[in-house]
Symmetry: C2
Subunit: 347 residues, 2 copies
């Protein structure tokens, strides 16, 4: 099928660039002697995870238990879930998933450990648990004191196994606190053989963080306007494009595209919602669900209603989640149609 | 099923409030002698559209052709699509849909009219076309001069029928330009029997815009933190709640919920991503896909990991679009499970 036969808005993946991105990140991790564990939240598509495994990845990371379940069914049986799995329904599902798959989860609080231990005890399992160390983004994660306490608790729990330390993002600023944690654990006689870091930006700085044994990275597979803006990739590394049609052109300085927040999501960088290849000087300054408002003041070229444009989205992971199907293209041919298998999962 | 048996995050609809919202808006339109045409983008669920029709609505509005197709299949055959349908694939689908359903679309440019005329000619149809007048939001819509030109062109086109004027939002500030347009059309001998306005906020001011014959409104059916913030509804009118679990509580002043941007979307009001019923003073100040960051500095109450909260989302329409299923509840019982039938439609 010719790419023009797809209606708009559609999400296209440039297969050459996808393959290059996968190869390059694997080579980067190989050169540093770090295991690569791609985060599937970016694509949610088993076929792309398989490309990553085929290139040398050791397993996958999933942010949700329900996404892990989809991938386990598809044959990906080595899964890290870097998330506190909380509540009796979810921990029971986790315990079931861990019966037949190699699953590790993270925890940042004793209450989380307690829930995990109770659930896996029922299945007579030993669950791998990584202690999450808090980082500069101040999201989840334990303080050093609490992390020590958590490791001790895990060591005492019959049905939990201390599988190492996890952090996100693993920027080198976290090296001193991690070293302090490792020293404290060493004093307690708790060995740490595994340090799982993460983040496409942090991956670039992994050479400066030699303690890391594994990297969980997602966005590198497609890249986006955010990774380009941060200097982690170039426009030529961007594999995802949203095609859109000019549906209105009220006057010379404004056009409206059919790619609204239902397509691009509401995320923005400095108030802009993507980068239009055909109009580099244009600004997508506002979105409604089905409308992208584009300021053409700085553009010489003038569009016609019906013209098609290609947008590098701000953040690929959230765009994937909006679409039931995305399309792999090579040149102007659609080579593969991928259902987004793990889209829209709740639990 | 008890509502607590649903995992989090889930989207709940309070059925009593939903019914009240439907009844109240219908009574409002009835009292003004204006037809109510609910916009289904807010719920995307045929069963809720049926409740609106049963209450007295004349038909529905859909923002996309593909959503209209879902609702037409479900038996809703009087549909306005207030959007420029552009491109040969979409106009051909529109012409097919119009064969068996009463469809009207809007247009704001001669190029749009040309595409519509070519497509419906094939099916030997006459398509109802509303001329869209531009408004203060500067999105789509024609100037008065262009609107006159469009109405004249439609009158000349064998396969198009001029069905009136459409605008969004139909706030009273648009009354003078609309009156000017009507006077110009009258001079040209073009009668306008139908003026379709829209917007939940504009509906509140419809008494001050007597030219309107129809209102397209969506959000009123659920309401949200945006309609409450704008003074168009009270918290007691909000029918949609997102349930979330406290999954992390790194320190007294911060908690993390499992309702991230994949659940609530990235939309915000003044940097906040929703209103938590259990913690009115809390601020959801940041989202990642699976994490909501909550500032508890101003709260006395302190959560436990595993606690469940209810969030009034910023914008219900975009939340619906993220979920495959939403749940109708009465008290603490789940009364109905609704697949979001028109979610994720592209063309």
């Amino acid at each position: 099928m010719h790419v023009y036969d797809l209606e708009t808005p559609s999400v296209l993946i440039d297969l050459d660039r996808l393959e290059n991105n996968i190869t390059r990140m694997q080579a980067h991790c190989d050169s540093l002697g770090i295991k690569l564990r791609p985060h599937i939240k970016t694509h949610k598509i088993p076929a792309i995870a398989q490309m990553q495994i085929d290139a040398g990845a050791v397993g996958i990371a999933c942010q949700k238990l329900s996404e892990a379940a989809i991938f386990a069914e598809a044959g990906f049986n080595d899964i890290v879930i870097p998330y506190n799995i909380v509540g009796p329904q979810k921990t029971a599902r986790l315990a079931d998933l861990a019966l037949f798959n190699r699953i590790a989860v993270s925890a940042d609080h004793p209450a989380v450990l307690q829930g995990l231990a109770e659930a896996v005890k029922v299945n007579e399992l030993t669950l791998q648990v990584l202690v999450e160390l808090g980082t500069e983004i101040e999201r989840t994660g334990a303080s050093i004191d609490r992390a020590v306490d958590l490791a001790q608790r895990i060591e005492r729990e019959e049905h939990l196994n201390f599988a190492g330390v996890l952090l996100y993002p693993s920027t080198p600023v976290m090296r001193p606190p991690l070293q302090e944690l490792l020293a404290r654990l060493d004093t307690d006689g708790i060995g740490v053989s595994h340090i799982s870091g993460g983040g496409t930006g942090a991956a670039q700085q992994a050479a400066n963080f030699p303690e890391l044994t594994e990297l969980r990275v997602g966005t590198y597979v497609f890249n986006d306007w955010r990774t380009v803006s941060a200097g982690w990739a170039t426009l030529d590394d961007c594999a995802m494009f949203v095609t859109a049609t000019v549906v209105s052109h009220p006057h010379d300085k404004r056009m409206i595209l059919d790619s609204g927040s239902k397509t691009l999501t509401a995320e923005a960088i400095a108030g802009e919602h993507g980068y239009i290849l055909e109009y580099p000087e244009a600004r997508i300054y506002q979105l409604n669900e089905e409308h992208a408002y584009v300021d053409l003041s700085d553009c010489d070229a003038r569009p016609e209603i019906g013209d098609r444009v290609h947008i590098v989205p701000v953040h690929t992971c959230v765009v994937t989640n909006m679409h039931n199907t995305i399309y792999g293209v090579r040149g102007d041919q659609v080579e593969v149609e991928w259902p987004v298998a793990a889209r829209g999962r709740v639990w």
